[in-house]
């Protein structure tokens, strides 16, 4: 009973108060009503790396050594070959890999990785997906993950010499970035044994040698 009277009294008091004062509601500054965004403690996303090892700068930011490759030589960048009559699923998966390559070229490495993982999920035997996932990880500076994917890529691309050379060069680049110069040199040498004119392998080998020497001083 008392509470009821209290309500009535308060209501009357407030009505009296409001009838004579206060700006129109519409003219008052708005108050935030959206609930606060709670960001739980989760591992952060890796920041996209800006490394472009083939553009003349080394991974650690030091200028890359002059290329020993004769002018005019070009790093082979094989297009993704599709055999005639390839299974439709492989064609679709490789088309996703192609899309990811474009993203890689435009520097969107995380997006490229997402696309490549879809490509691999669609066709687990797509050899190019394995290789380009390794490239994405390399660009994102996840060198160990890149090496792991190169292991998988070699098992499915090892039959194809140009692609094997590519995987070996990338292996060398990853090892070099991790400061493991001896195995890096071994990877470049193996690449050169299969393709003596490979400019990336030459460049990597020279750079690994110089870094190794610099460290030994």
């Amino acid at each position: 009973m008392t509470t009821r009277w209290l309500h009535v009294l308060s209501w009357l008091a407030l009505a009296a108060l409001l009838s004579g004062c206060g700006a129109p509601a519409g003219s008052r500054p708005s108050t935030a009503v959206e609930p606060p965004r709670v960001v739980p403690s989760a591992p952060p996303l890796a920041a996209p790396a800006s490394t472009e090892p083939e553009s003349g700068r080394g991974l650690s930011g030091a200028p890359a050594p002059p290329s020993p490759v004769p002018p005019g030589a070009r790093t082979p960048r094989p297009d993704l070959p599709m055999q005639r009559g390839s299974a439709p699923r492989r064609v679709a998966s490789v088309s996703l890999t192609e899309r990811a390559r474009k993203l890689l070229r435009s520097g969107q490495y995380t997006l490229a990785l997402i696309e490549l993982e879809k490509s691999l999920s669609l066709d687990g035997s797509n050899p190019y997906a394995h290789y380009y996932i390794a490239v994405s990880h390399y660009r994102l500076r996840n060198f160990k993950a890149s090496l792991d994917f190169l292991d998988a890529a070699e098992a499915v691309l090892g039959h194809d010499r140009p692609w094997l050379v590519q995987t070996l060069v990338l292996r060398g680049d990853n090892l070099r970035a991790l400061g493991r110069f001896d195995p890096a040199r071994a990877a470049y040498r193996r690449a050169l044994s299969l393709d003596a004119a490979n400019p990336s392998a030459h460049r990597g080998l020279l750079w690994a040698r110089q870094r190794s020497k610099a460290l030994s001083w």
Partner: protein
Amino acid sequence: MKRGFKRFLIRLFKITAALVVLVGLAGAGLGAWYVSHLSEVVKAKFEGRKWEFPSKIYADSKIIYPGMHLPAGEMREKLRRLGYRSSKSQPRTKGEYRIYGKSSVIEVYLHDFRYPLRDFRGYPVRIALRSGTIQRIQRLDNSDVLPALELEPEVVTGFYDRVREQRRVMRLEEVPARVRKAVLAVEDERFYYHRGVDPVAVMRAFLANVRRGGVVQGGSTLTQQLIKNFFLDSERTLERKVKEALMALITEWMYTKDQILENYLNEIYLGQNGAQGIFGIWEAARFYFVKEPEQLTVGETALLAGLIRAPNRYSPYRSVKDATRRRNVILAKLVSDGIITRRAYERALQEVFEKRKPVRLTNSAPYFTDYVKNELAEHYSEDTLTAEGLRIFTSLDIELQRAAEKALSEGLARLEKDYRHLRKTAEQDDLEGALVVIKPQTGEIRAMVGGRDYGKSQFNRVAQAKRQPGSVFKPFVFLAALTHGSAQGSGSYDSTTYIEDTPFTWAYGNEEWAPQNYNRSYHGWVTLREAMEKSLNAATARIAQDVGIKKVREMAYRMGIQSRLPLLPSLSLGAVEVTPLELAGAYSALANNGVRTHLLSIKNVLDRDGGALEKRNIRVKRVIPPRVAFDMHNMLRGVVERGTAQRVRELGFTRPAAGKTGTTNDSRDAWFAGYTPDLLALVWVGFDRQSELGLSGSSAALPIWTDFMKHATSRLPVTDFVTPPGAAARRARRPGGVVAGPARDALAQTIPR
């Protein structure tokens, strides 16, 4: 006397006046305190967390492509589950589709969808089919031919707390003006002219109720309705009405009309979809019309506004007739208020609500979602999961999940029918099973069935049950041999190496262990391949003894077994306890050329605004050399072609496959782990309380695996396993390099050198 009485009266008056003033002051003070208290309550609600948003778990998206077998019926069902609506003409708005030309053409106007790190803007596509196979996918807006098309992922379930509210919040400027006006016209036409309580409406309602002799009309403003929904119950008492009015006045004093309207449009209850309540304009538009609010027609807008009073009574899912009648009433009101033109009114009257069934959000993979929830619990609190509206993208394949559930439940029922002793026992130990499906190259868990009936038992036998693997463990012994060779210096092993399959005793410490073959028959000298194909215990134990049990254990750990394994000779025959999930993960390395994949169930986690909280990558690790992996894999192919799993072929599965059966010595567990180049599946059958099963892996688990695989791979092209570089023929030889006779040559296989 008179003077004294007068003085007394004056004193009495003074005392009374003082008392009145005191009581008045006390009342005003109390009133002020109460108002201030209510202001705090209102402020806390308006400026704090108003609603709980359940996090949603999504299955994996589906990629379709030319050459894929996808009959129109299946596509229709998929689109229905994704919330697309059928149209009779070419789809013109997002979310519409039509199938025509004797089911040979599907046109879909794709929804917008916020993928991790990418906002997809829907566009119209045409999918041409011939005999249920996609011939061509073409965009209709720019005529581009697409090599593949990604359909957005399906929602599997939400994480709910006590209340199951479905709601998506809209800002007021996102709500179409027509919807706003219609709601105000129906619920509170003087909204912009009162201050929370509308005396005109109260009087009108009072008169109407007196006239009708009962409560037929309410005088509550929209603000009062909001306050009631936010804070109060629906009890009709004077006390509650006063409190409601008071709080409405406070709210109007503290917040703008637009803020109040926005909250109202997001808060309002608009119906029920099974256990889930539909709240807010966005969710209602989606639920009733499969549209976004800006896509609603005039008629649909009118019904939406009309639903507020009694959502379940006027729901078009309940009665199209009642819904149409209600819509017409609202349309009449809208035209009389000048909100719509007479022409729009007449056109809206012609609209027909289709009789449809709501898409129920039922958890189609409860064991998997429990597993995901456990994984998420490492980083996110229960409160975050039930209230913060996270979007969790997983590896689940809905179609494979359905196939797995069907294969397991039908398989177990078949076993109970064929073997009487498996039916319910006195101790109520029901026959149980588990099935898990993994993509070997990515580690994605594509399906998980942790038991026969989630309603009865939520115990996830895939991830939680520790059971003896029996012979399914043998490949780890063979891998240790192929990798490390003999610890006794008798040379290296390959699939053609001979080993003795005869009874023997293994002495360790002060104990002895004598392994026995399954039916106590022994085969003398056999190759490793034969030992694997026939699952010979004695031969396997001899290999383990030669290699060293420590090496066997190391190999099992390297392949991904995480349970503690004792260093006992019986480990070689799987007399340890592991989970089916561990085993499946370990087998994935065999199916993937010796590269182990980390099991992946959660791929991405986004917050409610689409911000990326987490991305989990596919992770791989070479654990065994390709040569060893291929050798082992070849032996497991032999198991299916000639060995204990040849029933796979008898049951009609003809694709390239490899696998291993498993039966424990006491016949309590039956297993089959097998894979094709695309998928790995593992099946366990047994009793929770360890009753005797009395069946081998080949009789109990293998038929379920075969059933599932036949269905799961029926739409995929036949592909063979990849042979690693450097594979060459090798002949059978005795230990020490002796080449075996011509009879053994038949067993020689192509293996890598």
